[in-house]
Symmetry: C2
Subunit: 497 residues, 2 copies
């Protein structure tokens, strides 16, 4: 008898977040739901991460309505979301009541599995979220962000796993956002967690495919006892996305492990998204290969393109190599944080500043906050000299407490502010939207009545043509005409300026 390996498909969330800037319209996902629901997945990740932001910022879509729709269309399968711990789905720390309210509302609207992570792996930033999930009776998953550094040993990660279990999580996720998890470390880490935490704590492995090695890592994680793995249906997979679900299923044949997935259903889902994908051409990541230099630089793809555009804006596009060498030094100074939103942007931007203006001559507010503990603890000591500079730049003292402990109750204030906005529907859900995205929410509330947008376009509109839809009349090459007016023919050349 082969051992059952469970699978979470991320095609409704992380796949399009990783491959098409989180732009997929709900109406393009709905037709795939029936087959996804029948295919035999442990769960379907379909909410959270950047989807909430994208819904209100780009798609004029209420994220809570999206959640309710998925719940209705996926009655047989657990829904799953990615939750940034104390940051909820926003970009700052929230006071505990806000976090709790969010979790309650998400559970009430249909969320089953809450994958909770903190960018610094500071478990104190997960405690409120995990406890709130437990109170709703839903599945609380604690997350270890995988990273590579001299201090990040298997033992260190297993210790973190123990603290998560003490906190009451139902399962542990190993989250490898940058595809750095190689096969042997995957084996050792899963083995270490299983041995220390016992067989009953489910181990769930999430890897991206950027470096091309992580399907092998999933194989090794499964051999070491991983219970659940994340993949994405092939037509939205690979590159900076995830390993193809179908390949995982086929890979296991004869190995003593098997999924219970129905490939015929999955081929229908594949065909659906293969048709949808070209409609989002303008948002698709160009990268479709395998990039292993990340192992050396530790710099994930999204972070690299950010830094490149920052340098170009300053007319210093030729200094990328220096910046790439500076990033690991800045990361060391900051106590080796994993590089994931927001730490990747904070470290990357500071590295750009260091190269352009001299080492720590200027410090961003976010970087000084990171150095002073305002995002939480890091796994390694921070460089004391740089902490001193952060005190000067930030005009603040370092803290060692949980950052949210410094926050005042804010729920009532957020309610008052949210409810004063035009178009606010008076629900707690709208307060949460305002709380997380105060700049974007007002416009969204006003325009919500117009209904969701679909940013996908007929693929033929991307084909070569003389007139760009954005610049009517724009030409990229000269055209010669004979123009006859009355009896006289004029030679006319129209050229781009």
């Amino acid at each position: 008898m082969a051992k059952l390996v469970e699978v979470t498909d991320v095609i409704l969330r992380d796949a399009h977040q990783s491959l098409m800037a989180t732009r997929m319209a709900m109406e393009d996902m709905i037709p795939a739901c029936a087959d996804l629901d029948e295919a035999g997945y442990w769960s379907l990740e379909c909410w959270g991460g950047a989807t909430y932001d994208s819904c209100i910022r780009f798609l004029n879509e209420d994220p809570w309505e999206r959640l309710r729709t998925f719940k209705k269309l996926l009655p047989k399968t657990r829904t799953q979301m990615l939750l940034r711990g104390q940051n909820i789905l926003g970009y700052r720390h929230y006071e505990d009541t806000v976090v709790q309210r969010f979790v309650d509302k998400a559970a009430e609207n249909g969320m089953d599995v809450f994958r909770c992570f903190d960018a610094l792996n500071d478990v104190r930033n997960l405690k409120t979220a995990v406890e709130a999930v437990k109170r709703t009776g839903k599945h609380a998953q604690g997350t270890i962000c995988y990273t590579v550094s001299p201090v990040h040993t298997v033992e260190k990660f297993v210790e973190m796993g123990e603290r998560l279990v003490e906190m009451g999580v139902d399962s542990i996720c190993i989250k490898d956002m940058a595809a750095l998890l190689k096969p042997q470390p995957a084996y050792d880490l899963v083995k270490g967690l299983k041995e220390k935490l016992g067989e009953d704590i489910l181990i769930h492995v999430h890897v991206h495919s950027t470096t091309g090695v992580t399907l092998v890592s999933l194989m090794k994680a499964i051999e070491a006892g991983a219970d659940i793995v994340d993949t994405s249906v092939s037509s939205l997979s690979l590159g900076t996305g995830h390993n193809p679900t179908e390949s995982l299923v086929e890979m296991l044949e004869g190995t003593g492990f098997e999924t219970k997935l129905d490939l015929e259903r999955i081929y229908k889902v594949r065909d659906h998204f293969a048709k949808i994908r070209p409609r989002y051409k303008e948002f698709l990541t160009e990268f479709q290969g395998a990039e292993t230099e990340i192992f050396k630089s530790q710099i994930p793809g999204g972070m690299l393109s950010n830094m490149e555009s920052q340098l170009k804006q300053q007319g210093q596009g030729d200094r990328l190599k220096e910046v790439l060498e500076e990033v690991p030094r800045v990361r060391k100074d900051a106590g080796y944080p994993p590089l994931v939103t927001p730490s990747s942007q904070i470290v990357g931007t500071q590295a750009v500043f260091n190269v352009m203006m001299g080492k720590y001559k200027v410090m961003t507010g976010e970087f000084s906050d990171l150095m002073l503990g305002y995002y939480g603890e890091t796994d390694a000591e921070k460089e004391p000299e740089v902490v001193e500079k952060a005190k000067e730049f930030g005009k603040k003292d370092p803290i060692t407490c949980r950052p949210a402990d410094l926050l005042q109750p804010e729920w009532e204030k957020l309610c008052d502010e949210a409810k004063a906005l035009e178009g606010n529907n008076g629900t707690d859900e709208d307060v949460l939207t305002y709380a997380m995205f105060p700049q974007v929410a007002p416009k969204f509330f006003r325009e919500r009545k117009d209904g969701p947008l679909n940013l996908g376009k007929d693929p033929s509109s991307f084909e070569a043509g003389p007139v760009s839809p954005d610049h009517p009349g724009y030409l990229s090459a000269p055209i010669d005409y004979d123009v006859k007016i009355g009896e006289k023919t004029h030679k006319v050349t129209v050229a781009p300026r």
Copy 2:
């Protein structure tokens, strides 16, 4: 101490054959040779397969000059070629003298490793080639074409391996052209070969990446004792190509296996081909993902597109599904040949005929030859009724001998014919070119003096523009102008016809 795993890079041959229709110009490969030669490969596959045909048919380049150039530019690394046994690099069986002459000339011009395969796995079709290689003192590699069928067990393949060893091969290649080799069968097959043939016979594993599972298969093959594996530098990898070399190197970290490859050199090669690749956009395969339905249909990608275009030409494009279901039945009738050039085309075309005109109502000459043994033996019994029909259609009796045993000496005749052609340079190499490609050689001999072509184009020429380089003045959408002549403004619309 980690065990050394050797690597063959196929970027100079199979990578561009699989991804860009074998069109890469020699001048685009030359700049990468120094780094490839220093990177620490066991060998570099750089010749044979379809490259000979492509050189004379499309690139006006003497393939023998290409071989000599590679030999000069790769002094530290073995050169390697793919040889179709008794077919040499052509599409029919040749009399033994021609095969021997080809091997002698290839060795003389700089070939070190000869990978010899037969599409039907009939070892009798490899004997002349392998013995000829042995006489030159070069490395003779015998090949097992991997396929899946009720008769293709590990035992069956190991038996074939034994026959190859008896023949005197220096190593055995497992050739998985359709990416059907899953991890566990890869392990079992390598293990089986090693146990039966002994540790001294090198096992070399060649897989494509089409189904997305074969990097895992390489891991398992390595665990089972494989000595050498084939990969391709990342910028020309994946899809219907091969697994990325860099990913293989990184994958092995900590596993007890390691390559001796220098990644810094390989990154330079990667950057070179990343720049070259867009120049061949019109030849690039569109497919860049993972396709697992091949496991069910057994139909490799190239064969699928052939059948699609045959059906469309007959106005029956909607019958592809029927054809896909017919292919496995035709393959069974034919004794389960592996589907690789030319058997894939022969089986595929017959399946198209069966669907369009009724089961075996019409039989192609090639299919009746296959059924009657004129390509060699198959591993399973052929369907007797279909053999009877083949006799009628082919007006021939079945044979059981080695097909080349029926051939008359032909070298002198080929010499006379070749040397009568304008532009023939009087060498045995030119006779071989004529022997393998009698239709193409005359034009090539005449035009050779004009020198090699580079079919790559400036990538900007593929960008959207109103004027196609092939159709000057062609528009794909209307443009409106205000044209002022003297004092009068005319509204002019220029629209495509």
